[in-house]
């Protein structure tokens, strides 16, 4: 096991320089190592600042090792306004529950999502740098949606009671929306056509895993439904089914393989429609591997989300090849994981 020193984590550069000059041999060595790491960190930060969206994959583990482990949650009450401004701050990190259940559900769902990303994937929040997570509850009047605004906020509607109910109730929905933020800071998938459908699918996959991890479910136990806790009578039993994309509800059928791909200009080229194909591939991989889906399919998909070879305009095939590469690198070229990934994508006619 490599020697680790707490100097890596907490001391400012000035003090590290001083220790490197004046400390005993062990302290000096640790200080020099920490300075080297700090320099790398600062270089990375400079590189990130120069890019439209940061988080180079190769630094994920390094940064996660430096800080993290505690979310920074802020929940605002929008009081049914549709103005796109922050409402009243009603609960901050560490504060006790309030009387409003929606506020507490959003706070807890953010916590479940942060915990999943930190404990399973060693990612420190949306940007892997401890980014605060803002939740805006009670947005609009009977607003039947929840969305990620690309500016660091998740907006929650209370639902119209027909399509959707209170959207803060869905742990998987919260995981879905916050994963759009993670994608924004990793693959930056263009929200159009196949790359947009991948963007949606990755959010469904990770959202489902957030729920499975919170409940301690195996792939066999999981429902593989998305949004089952927030749908109203028109969309029961769920928004989507990763297991059976064709039959999630009476209005939201999705394709389950490439020969069923839907060509449409609507909804950014069918991002919520064709996501059924990679969703089903993920389900097939997770089911073939069995057990906790986050330990196999989950880490493979996350490795792919940080793969610089997968471009923002990636189609299904490029992403699938990325998952196969990730499975081979993490588990071995002839591993069962690699075989399951290949079979999963073949099962939906992408590979």
């Amino acid at each position: 096991m490599p020697h680790r020193c707490s100097l890596h984590c907490i001391l400012p550069p000035d003090l590290l320089f001083k220790l490197a000059r004046t400390g005993d041999e062990e302290v000096r060595e640790s200080a020099l190592r920490a300075l080297s790491l700090d320099h790398t960190f600062r270089q990375a930060r400079a590189v990130r600042a120069a890019r439209p969206a940061p988080a180079p994959a190769e630094l994920g583990g390094l940064l996660a090792g430096v800080t993290g482990g505690s979310p920074q949650r802020f929940i605002y009450d929008e009081h049914e306004s549709e103005a796109h401004v922050l409402g009243t701050l009603v609960r901050s990190e560490g504060q006790p529950p309030v009387a409003d259940v929606a506020v507490n559900d959003a706070y807890d769902g953010f916590g479940d999502t942060y915990k999943f990303y930190w404990e399973v994937l060693k990612r420190n929040s949306i940007d892997d740098r401890g980014m605060p997570i803002d939740g805006l509850v009670h947005y609009g009047s009977h607003y039947d949606n929840a969305f990620w605004d690309g500016e660091g906020h998740m907006w929650f509607g209370d639902g119209d009671g027909k399509m959707l109910t209170q959207t803060t109730k869905g742990i998987d929905v919260i995981g879905h929306e916050l994963t759009h933020g993670v994608t924004q800071y990793t693959l930056q998938l263009v929200y159009q056509g196949q790359s947009g459908a991948l963007n949606e699918s990755i959010s469904d996959c990770m959202g489902s895993l957030v729920m499975q991890y919170a409940k301690g479910q195996t792939a066999e136990d999981a429902s593989w439904l998305i949004g089952a806790d927030i749908v109203g009578p028109l969309l029961r039993p769920a928004l989507r089914s990763m297991k059976d994309p064709r039959n999630p509800n009476p209005h939201g059928a999705q394709p389950a393989k490439m020969s069923e791909y839907v060509h449409t200009a609507e909804d950014n080229g069918g991002v919520h429609t064709n996501s059924g194909i990679p969703n089903h591939a993920f389900y097939l991989v997770a089911s073939a591997l069995a057990g906790h889906a986050w330990e196999g399919a989950g880490v493979i998909w996350y490795d792919t989300m940080r793969d610089p070879k997968v471009k923002p305009n990636a189609g299904f095939k490029q992403f699938a090849q990325g998952t196969l590469r990730a499975a081979q690198q993490r588990f071995g070229t002839t591993s069962g994981e690699a075989d399951a990934v290949r079979a999963g994508w073949e099962g939906v006619e992408v590979l």
């Binding site: 605004d149 399509m163 959207t167 930056q188 928004l239």
Partner: protein, 109 residues
């Protein structure tokens, strides 16, 4: 575009659910005061420019998008815009239409 009557249809796509929703109304079927309100709201907005307003940045996801069509004797106008681009003048009209909207078939091709 002024006019005494209008047939207005609205289609909403996107959102977390991704289910298209549609609704329509004819101002001749509204109470006179309500019809006047709707026509005034439409008259106060340049529909050709609604979709040019500031939108969510790249990275945003699951927001709604609207297609509004206004048919009058003089002709038809259409506008496509995100929910962030929805002008405040049209919010009551959109809310009225969405209150009666129903799931619609996906447009393919």
């Amino acid at each position: 575009m002024a006019g005494r009557h209008a047939h207005i249809s609205l289609r909403r796509t996107g959102g977390l659910a991704g289910v298209p929703m549609e609704a329509a109304l004819d101002t001749r079927e509204l109470a006179p005061a309500k019809a006047r309100e709707v026509l005034d709201a439409l008259g106060s907005v340049d529909l050709d420019r609604v979709g040019a307003a500031k939108d969510w940045p790249q990275g945003a996801a699951d927001a709604f998008r609207y297609e509004l069509k206004v048919q009058r004797e003089e002709g038809t106008q259409a506008a496509s815009f995100s929910e962030r681009q929805l002008p405040s003048e049209l919010e009551p009209l959109v809310r009225t239409l969405m209150d009666q909207a129903q799931p619609a078939r996906r447009r393919e091709g």
